[in-house]
Amino acid sequence: MEFFLQLVITGIMVGSIYALVALGWTLIYKSSGVLNLSMGELTLTGAYVSLTFYQWGLPFPIALLFTLIVGLVLGLVVERVFLRPLIGESVLTVIMVTVGISFFLRGALGFIWGTDTLVFTPPVFPSQPVQIGPIVIGQVYIWSFIAAIVLLLIFVGFFKYTRWGLAMQATADDEMAALSIGISAKFVYAMAWAIAFMAAGVGGALLGNINGVNVSVGHLGLLVLPAVVMGGLNSVPGAIVGGLIVGLLQNFAGGYLDNLTIAGISIIPGGAKEMFPFFAMTIALLFKPYGLFGWQRIERV
């Protein structure tokens, strides 16, 4: 039971980071219909950028803030350079471009920072774990969770209550109608990419604190795909719930399946943690093709 609770808590805490990254992904999909396959590399970029700021001697919260700013700028630049010329092209073309962006970023990051695992030194969070009842949690998880939740609230609030957020929602709903009242689709796309970069960047910084920074952070960023698919591609609450579910599934798989032995023989030699969210995604798609919160078309009778 304690082991179970332990997995649940850790799962939710890691899941909150995935939720943050998934939110960024969903914003792009909602407003422009683009399936962004470069989210993993955006996450990785954030990890390296924040690490560099931290290594320069900035306190971690400031490094995080600068990561946000770099994310904002990078998002605007990438949108302007790679995606704006493609407005009006077929969706498949744009998706391939996001694949290109991901390879480009991976190459550029390796070029700048090398391929060795880098760690935040000195450690940002004390390694002394916190004991809550029977459960032991590393401080890095707790702080990551808090940071992710705060940012999630800021982004959701922005989306829900500001006029720019409202304009983004309107464009997601009906692009032609949004154009007809003078909402600039270009502005909305630029903003969606900027937010995605910011969310992924902070997600990457937090994940980098947990595991150290190397290419595998990018693989973790790619976990947004099962998260958003399970949540429903175009739903903001869905992305958040999906992110939490992926975090939980990952921890359960790692906790129970990786150690599964029958009669002394290990059945799953390891790696269930990485695989299981995708497995669950496939199963979920069979039963709920719109995901948990995906838009079903509003039909008036």
């Binding site: 009006g88 006029r163 409202l166 309107a170 007809s180 009242i181 003078g182 909402i183 509003i298 008036r300």
Partner: protein
């Protein structure tokens, strides 16, 4: 500003879709300041295309004004983007009641004022509620679940929030119950009178359109085939026959004759 009192002027415009399909073959029309002008015609005549050419939305459907010019308050606008044109004050209420389905009624209205802030936004919303009291009652409802009439009011209210200088209305009566149509058209007249808002109105319902408009144009296969004041169009025998379904005597046509109905005359081809 234009000297002869027109806020909008189309000079012999041609519109092509996908660089091959010629939809408008030389359309000229004027909208006077603070007037309502009706654009009439059958399906596929090019009425909606004319509106989209003015508002610039054409460019997003791979269409282009290939000849002629569009002048709004004395400035040429036919090369500008939809965004610039709407910022200058031309707002098109597109056909088919395109509300933002997943937003609430009030959010839909507020989106219209995405360029404004705070107090201006509030007074704008109040103005919309004053014209459309029904919207105030359902402000929290998800727009996708509103009735057709409510959605029509909503898209008009949303357009009003942008503080338009010229409103392009595409078929506001489409698919609505007669009582609702009456209400919508009363509001259109009020908007025009009280806000001094010029309106270019596309309508299939010719009788209604000519009742509110001061001037009308009849479009047929991409050309203006007839124009005149609303009164003169109402009395025109061809309009009566083809659009109002009346014979020369002013009586309703019998259904027996409709069976043998054959169009005798086209104005131009």
């Amino acid at each position: 500003m234009d000297t002869n009192g027109n806020i909008l002027q189309l000079n012999n415009i041609e519109v092509m879709y996908h660089e091959v399909i010629l939809v408008l073959k030389g359309v000229s029309l004027q909208v006077p300041r603070a007037g309502i002008v009706a654009l009439l015609g059958a399906n596929g005549a090019g009425k909606s295309t004319t509106l989209k050419a003015i508002s610039g939305l054409l460019k997003h459907e791979n269409g282009r004004v290939t000849d002629g010019s569009i002048e709004f308050m004395g400035e040429r606008i036919d090369r500008r983007s939809a965004e610039e044109i709407s910022r200058q004050g031309i707002i098109q209420v597109i056909e088919g009641r395109r509300v933002f389905e997943h937003l609430t009624v009030e959010e839909n209205i507020k989106v219209g004022a995405h360029l404004n802030t705070g107090a201006k936004m509030r007074s704008g919303v109040d103005k919309v509620y004053a014209y459309f009291p029904r919207l105030k009652q359902i402000r929290e409802r998800t727009a996708g679940f509103c009735s057709g009439g409510e959605q029509q009011m909503l898209v008009m209210g949303r357009a009003l929030m942008t503080n338009p200088k010229l409103m392009l209305l595409d078929e506001p009566s489409m698919g609505l119950a007669p009582l609702l149509i009456k209400e919508i058209f009363e509001i259109i007249t009020r908007l025009n009178r009280e806000e001094q808002l010029p309106i270019l109105l596309v309508e299939q319902n010719v009788k209604l359109a000519l009742a509110v408009a001061g001037y009308g144009y009849v479009l047929e296969s991409g050309r203006v085939v007839m124009d005149g004041t609303a009164d003169s169009l109402r009395d025109n025998p061809d309009i009566k026959e083809f659009y109002l379904g009346l014979t020369d005597l002013g009586t309703r046509k019998s259904f027996r004759e409709v069976k043998h109905y054959k169009r005798r005359k086209r104005w131009l081809t």
